[in-house]
Symmetry: C2
């Protein structure tokens, strides 16, 4: 079994009948819809799907086709940057699936979308074929309105050399699972939180593959360091925790709690177990997986 | 889905054709044989099976019937205490199955074994109906040879009031999963290890539901604290680790590594994660389970 997750993002977060048509198009045997998240401010919907590569790619193709038919970017507004009706479609390897399977699925879907839907397709992250397209923000900078005029300077990997008049273009790729992780501090001093976030986040020279910002959570009267770990193989959860703990101590405060938002890969949790216990536990030793996996 | 594990122990660890018949009898649709462990010194075989209550109980009934037909305790010897050809048959709740389901399965199997195989049946641990039978050692003390003469003083819960002439009696029950956990210390001083094991084990006033002994591991030149955690809800892995860490520090040594023998329930590992991260993660947040569980 080679199970993949896909997290397609569509530029529609308000018209419920269109959102309903997108989820209906994903209803393919062998594919499970784990989550639907629509944001009216972003005017954007994110589906979380899981399945083996073939049925999952079928489901994604159908949803992209619905997005092309139903969403017109010429009349779309929202605060989130986007270049397509179906904007970005990442495959994520889960369980013991290798990244190569996610990349292969991304390339196959990209070919089909380019040829059958006549959309310009960009390949990003682990599926990128050009180094400048590894980072999504390089492809999406300026959004649909910029790309429409400047596509010659940012040529797609596949498909036509012109943006689709109403549906724009699409970014397809493969990436590591993302972990949304928040740490609460025993302080309401946002300046302390901001200083710690700066020390942690990759973009200011902190930990690789970590995005971080500080927020004051009024309900708790505490500062939260809100993080995305974009590659837990590169920077693990226990490393992040330890660095925040040290930086907090250096500023006279301490961690009071931490929490994950959404689902966490077990592999990332085993890093925590092994750091805490000086252990070397692997997925093969986890009873629940062995029972469920048929292995 | 209400998944159970069963770990039946049979008094045969040498004759491979009998062991083969036992495993063949467990081959019931819906039941998976996860492990077979035969020990010639103990003259004993332990199967690990998993399935839903009905097929699992069917498989256990068939294996017990094979044991009754094939094993004669009058000609059996081995270093491990035993009162039956099929000696002890524990059901273990796994994943999110409640203990009550394991107890109900134990009671149903006990009734069938008592009436159809005419064996005296004792109910133990969470399935016990008499407080003096909660602990397995109270039922099994002195083995088959003692029970044969003294069964009137140790009456079975179900079935005939006499031991079966060749197959003895059987103990059926329900218990928490057992975790086999070893901690290595940065010392080769076995006296230090023994002192720590005494502080940790329940029987000398240490931690509830923990068995512990100290061993010198020549290959590593290190002392190992070898433990069984018989109820990780009562004493968790991080509690055990912390107590060993403190006791080691008090004696001038430290933990260098730790390891699990066999499979570990994920719930017990989440205790470690939550202790390390000041977290409150539950099984529902673990991606891999959600993907495999169909949930």
């Amino acid at each position: 079994m080679s199970l993949l997750e896909a997290v397609p993002n569509f530029s529609e977060g308000r018209r419920s009948e269109v959102i309903g048509r997108l989820t209906a198009a994903a209803d393919v045997p062998g594919v499970r819809l784990l989550d639907v998240h629509s944001d009216p401010d972003h005017n954007r919907t994110v589906l979380t799907l899981a399945g083996e590569a073939e049925p999952l790619s079928d489901a994604l193709f159908h949803t992209i086709a619905v997005a092309v038919a139903e969403i017109d970017l010429r009349h779309h507004n929202g605060v989130h940057p986007r270049i397509g009706a179906a904007d970005v479609v990442p495959f994520v390897p889960v369980l013991d699936t290798p990244m190569g399977d996610a990349v292969a699925a991304a390339h196959a879907l990209a070919n089909r979308v380019a040829s059958e839907l006549r959309l310009p397709v960009y390949l990003y992250d682990a599926a990128a074929r050009r180094p400048e397209y590894i980072r999504l923000e390089n492809i999406r900078r300026g959004g649909f309105e910029t790309l429409r005029d400047a596509i010659a300077t940012r040529p797609p990997d596949l498909g036509p050399a012109q943006v689709h008049p109403s549906a724009g273009a699409v970014v397809i790729g493969a990436r590591q699972p993302l972990i949304a992780y928040n740490i609460y501090l025993d302080t309401d001093d946002l300046a302390v939180g901001r200083a710690i976030a700066r020390r942690v986040r990759a973009s200011s020279g902190g930990l690789p593959a970590v995005k971080a910002l500080a927020l004051l959570i009024p309900r708790r009267g505490q500062v939260q360091i809100s993080m995305n770990l974009t590659n837990f193989h590169e920077t693990s959860i226990p490393t992040v925790f330890e660095v925040v703990r040290e930086e907090a101590a250096a500023r006279g405060t301490r961690i009071v709690a931490s929490e994950f938002v959404g689902l966490v890969p077990l592999d990332a949790l085993l890093n925590v177990v092994n750091a805490a216990l000086a252990g070397d536990l692997t997925l093969q030793s986890v009873l629940d997986l062995r029972l469920l996996d048929g292995g």
